[in-house]
Symmetry: C4
Subunit: 212 residues, 4 copies
């Protein structure tokens, strides 16, 4: 069976790549007149730390999402309207990430801190839902998947995204109590994913080898 999803993957890759590279536009420059010497510049940059942190966080979050997108589409061989729609939703949210990142960068240090962390975390709750939706729509019809995929592999991928949901929700609640904790929670989740996704893949690789 030929893989039908090549052009979708190419288009999605491009959207991920652009979204990740546009993040740098959220790093602002000091006005020319406001900087008279090295010291002014260093102070300006030091005060920009939430912007640098937000840039770093959002870059690696989109990077991990891309890795996961890649991983899911390696298992999807056919497409239907549902998959197209769920993938469109993921791309929509990924392309939007730079906006909550900007808000976080600008207002984390201030009174509106919990609102911007809440919006930031909320975006990732929605992205998590979209990934769950994509895998739900793809995996409930095994004719869309890689021929010979095992139920164990399907369930492993599903669990990987399901686990994320409650953690993002907890992070969302923490946004309104201790905003910094929310950011640490989702950072922890991304590190976990970066490590675990390697393991899932290893498992699937072994499965492929055993088949042959």
């Amino acid at each position: 069976m030929e893989k039908e999803t090549v052009r979708i993957e190419g288009f999605s890759d491009a959207v991920f790549a652009i979204a990740i590279t546009l993040l740098v536009l959220d790093l602002h420059m000091p006005e020319e007149n406001s900087v008279k010497n090295s010291n002014d510049l260093l102070i300006f940059l030091k005060n920009q730390w939430p912007a640098f942190l937000a840039f770093f966080l959002s870059f690696f979050s989109i990077f991990i999402m891309w890795v996961n997108h890649h991983k899911i589409f390696k298992q999807i061989y056919s497409r239907n309207s549902g998959i197209m729609f769920a993938n469109g939703l993921i791309l929509f949210l990924v392309s939007a990430v730079s906006y909550p990142t900007s808000l976080l960068a600008r207002f984390f240090n201030g009174e509106a801190s919990s609102v911007v962390v809440g919006i930031y975390t909320g975006t990732f709750v929605l992205i998590n839902l979209a990934y769950n939706l994509l895998w739900f729509l793809a995996s409930r019809n095994k004719t869309l998947l890689r021929p010979g995929i095992s139920d164990v592999a399907i369930r492993k991928i599903q669990n990987n995204y399901l686990y994320g949901f409650p953690i993002y929700l907890i992070a969302l609640i923490f946004s309104f109590i201790v905003p910094a904790v929310a950011l640490i929670l989702i950072l922890g989740l991304w590190i976990f994913w970066a490590l675990s996704s390697g393991k899932i893949e290893m498992g699937i690789k072994k499965e492929l080898e055993t088949e042959i």
Copy 2:
């Protein structure tokens, strides 16, 4: 016969992907000084609703156009100057969509509402004409198309785009009477297209299978 249009499709995909991802730049941030607490920020975001709506509308309109572009080029195997020109026109208009989207986002809530909805709808009238032109130039010379394509399939694709024209025109007229109705009309058209394009493809898939 080898497909000659691979690099055109790759280039077009990239333009679609960039145009769709640049839309987020139309979401504006509040000035740092204008936001003193969470409330100020929430009010600012609430007043931005036309920008969020415009972002959403334009994202999915470009996404559906991309799906349709993909669908048309699956049937085109050779190219000539006419196809290059019509495709260039489509890409030009797609890359321009973010400008009427910005106008809509900024001035929908105000006196200039009908002008910005008219420009927005007018852009899609032009895009519809460009798609009709592309398919007209490609389909009048069957040697350019996928070998073995049936006349039924050609006509189905043609009708799909022709139907859009009067609806966009009606939307354009409504822009100057009740602007909101114009937006609802084109949203309805996109939902119809999202659903119908799936059916057309199914039909063509069956055709391909019957051939073999």
Copy 3:
């Protein structure tokens, strides 16, 4: 012989696609407060005509350059440092086009008109030189080219770019006398190229068929 230039072409295509899509960012929006009704907006848009013209001109100039790039690389099978460098120069200039376009958009209507048209035309003189350099470096060593390419085809491609040089130079001179004539000249050249490049390709296609 395997074609070695696939990844260069992919990278170049991406740069062309991004450069062409970023042009829309040069279309500016009116300030929210400066527009009180439909009339204000229409007047603003009418006064923006040089920006729309510049957007249109630059979009199609980059599009034609992409078509020509494509055409040249269909004949190049190997690469060396010279080709990499000449191609890098082309990409550098293409990515820079949006800056002279911005200048043209903003200052065409005013005292600085001849300077901005001169910079705009000068950019295309440089791009023309870079294309000539690329083809010179590729064609002087026939082992880099498509096996079996005829000397007639090599000369035809060469002439196509050489002819452009004096015309761009004349346009550059006119920039300082009657700026509008300069723009009309380069527009004419692009239309000529759009049409003639089709013919060159037809010739090469026939050549390929005769070989077989």
Copy 4:
């Protein structure tokens, strides 16, 4: 053995292409009111020379990095979490280059000169470390590399990046003494790389031919 890194290369290429093309956004335009005649415009552009220099430097630095990335990944056939992470780090730094470039463009001519040159040079120290890390992680496990790669080739690539480190460090030190010398040093290093990378490739090509 099938090459597993195709989609990583495609994604990386896209990030490089976008990062390189976004650099033009750092070239600023004069305010419409501040330019009354040709002379004002020419003076503005003349004063912008650090921005043009920074644009030129950063464009070719990213271009050379892309060539090197390409060269490394031609030798990597499998991937693991370490390679994904090191590559992610490279892409993160590449996408960030436009920010130190902006700083350089805006503040090179002034009191903060040494700070901005230091940040600019420091970014390339980090990028050099990331390339060394990538090659270290890939080459310590020969099962990840192109089957049949010689130890000589591995060492040659390694040395190419190791040599860069002390030179970037020296440039970093000079940033705080004579900033202009730092820029000249890294420019020299890039020219050396542009030339030497051609030679390394020639060596590897010969190796491939001898094998067959």
